[in-house]
Amino acid sequence: MPKIDTADGPVWKRRQTPKQLMIWFGWLIAVAIAAYAWHLISEKTVWFFVWDAPRQMLDISTRMVPPAWSYMDVLWKPVWDTINIATIGSMIAMAIAIPVAFAAAHNTTPHRLVRAGALFIIVSTRSINSLVWALLLVVVVGPGVLAGTLAIGIRSIGGCAKLLYEGIEEINQTQVEAIEATGASPAQKMIYGVLPQVLPTFAGVGVFRWDVNVRGSTILGIVGAGGIGVQLNASINTLAWTQVSMILLVILGAVILSEWISAKVRHAII
């Protein structure tokens, strides 16, 4: 805290003047960026529709109640599909992500080149949203649950493997050395030294990813990749708002349930 001597005695300030100026300058740049971005976005906006939005909201929300409870009979199968897309997708992802993670971690990778390859797999699968993967896979394997499952699976390889290899890199190396000191082979070192340390992490990552994927799989139907999103898209396009609200309630239930399960399981493991 700098002290400035004035005629009336010392005055205390929170920061030195140059630092204060720097902070102000940073704020100035941030505000300028925000203003410019806002300018660009507002240029492309039809403001009439925006001002009309409250009326639209009121209109659609009155059309949404009461939810079409009877529509639930149609929804059981899509809900089951949605959960399956998330679960099977997560399983596929974990099956591929575990070897990739061992190849990507500093302390278990067989070679630097292998590590680079594994990191490339992680980055490229992670950077593309599962919806985009679904778009591409619908072209290849046709619309339906399979495309969705594969899309979730591929997107999750990177998501899981990143967390897994960070977990592997954090292990306690002395335990591995202790196993090595008994004359263990590399495979034994892995099974008795590394694996017991990382298994809880693996289980936690799997359950966490499953939770994320349940959320993700509800929207894949928008591009035709199966699950409850197909019904959502169809109901919105036909303006069947009571069905839409029913679907939203079901999605809400699925998301809350999966979050609760994943929290419980992770609490039990860690």
């Binding site: 925000a34 971005a37 906006t45 039809v46 529709f49 925006v50 950077s127 949203n129 289980a203 959502l232």
Partner: protein
């Protein structure tokens, strides 16, 4: 001479990950039954898949070389729109989430404010950004404004929750020290709480910018502006070389954002 019988066991087995055998076998059996059921009820048109394989090959072949020529100027336009949308949504979302986050911290707010703010956080977290974007497009019309709204709502759920948790985990003695000097509520927030949570919040806002860019690349699929619209157009026009170019640009930006935000976060903390 017989070997001396030792009271200790001379073989050892690794303990199982799940110690209770009943639970272990139950889980294995349950998983097996579930997987069988799930795969059994999965409707897959294998003929279509078989027909699709050469199509997949053609798709991959069309990916190389990627066509960056961008004759209609849409890629650069869409990417820039996505980037600006992500930036303004991050800023707007954070501005909105500061009061919500303060309200959702149990040690700062009265109970009814706490419950109200927690409700806002929970409701903006439940639905995926794409579903929010669909409704934003219905309400606000096509274009990046809808995307901005959708991403801002997502940001509020994320940022306010973490801000509230961070405030709840703060060092109480500093807050008490400032309070005991007779500070007003705003001074208290400004001098006792803000300095404690600021470094982490800067890191989180960079992280959220990263997430928002990823999302802004896909909200275009439902008409909410950004590169997503051009992505889906290029796929439906079978211009897979353009698709490849767009995907590569997205990957490049995501990676560079991730590295920059990681670097900046290290620098801030």
């Amino acid at each position: 001479m017989s070997p001396p019988t030792s009271p200790y066991p001379n073989s050892w087995k690794k303990p199982h990950f799940i110690k209770n055998p009943l639970l272990r076998w139950g889980l294995i059996l349950g998983t097996a039954i579930y997987v069988a059921l799930a795969l059994g009820t999965m409707e897959v048109n294998w003929i279509r898949v078989w027909e699709g394989l050469p199509r997949g090959q053609r798709l991959l072949a069309a990916f190389f070389p990627p066509n960056f020529s961008d004759t209609r100027g849409v890629i650069i336009d869409g990417i820039l729109e996505s980037i600006w949308m992500a930036i303004i949504a991050t800023i707007g979302g954070i501005v909105l989430s500061v009061p919500v986050g303060l309200g959702a911290a149990r040690n700062l707010s009265p109970r009814w404010v706490y419950l109200f703010c927690r409700f806002i956080v929970a409701s903006s977290r439940t639905f995926p950004e794409i579903i929010v974007a669909i409704f934003a497009v219905k309400f606000f019309g096509f274009g990046p404004f809808a995307g901005f709204i959708a991403l801002s709502i997502g940001t509020v759920g994320f940022f306010a929750k973490l801000l509230a948790e961070d405030i709840e985990a703060m060092n109480k003695t500093q807050a008490e020290a400032v309070r005991s000097t007779g500070s007003s509520w705003f001074q208290w927030i400004n001098y006792a709480i803000q300095p404690q949570v600021m470094p982490r919040m800067i890191g989180l806002s960079l992280y959220r910018l990263d997430i928002n860019f990823r999302e802004s690349a896909v909200v275009g699929i439902v008409g909410a502006g950004g590169i997503g619209a051009h992505l889906i157009t290029s796929i439906s026009r079978y211009e897979y070389d353009t698709t490849a170019a767009i995907l590569l640009v997205i990957i490049a930006i995501v990676i560079s954002l991730e590295y920059t935000s990681g670097y900046l976060r290290k620098w801030v903390q």
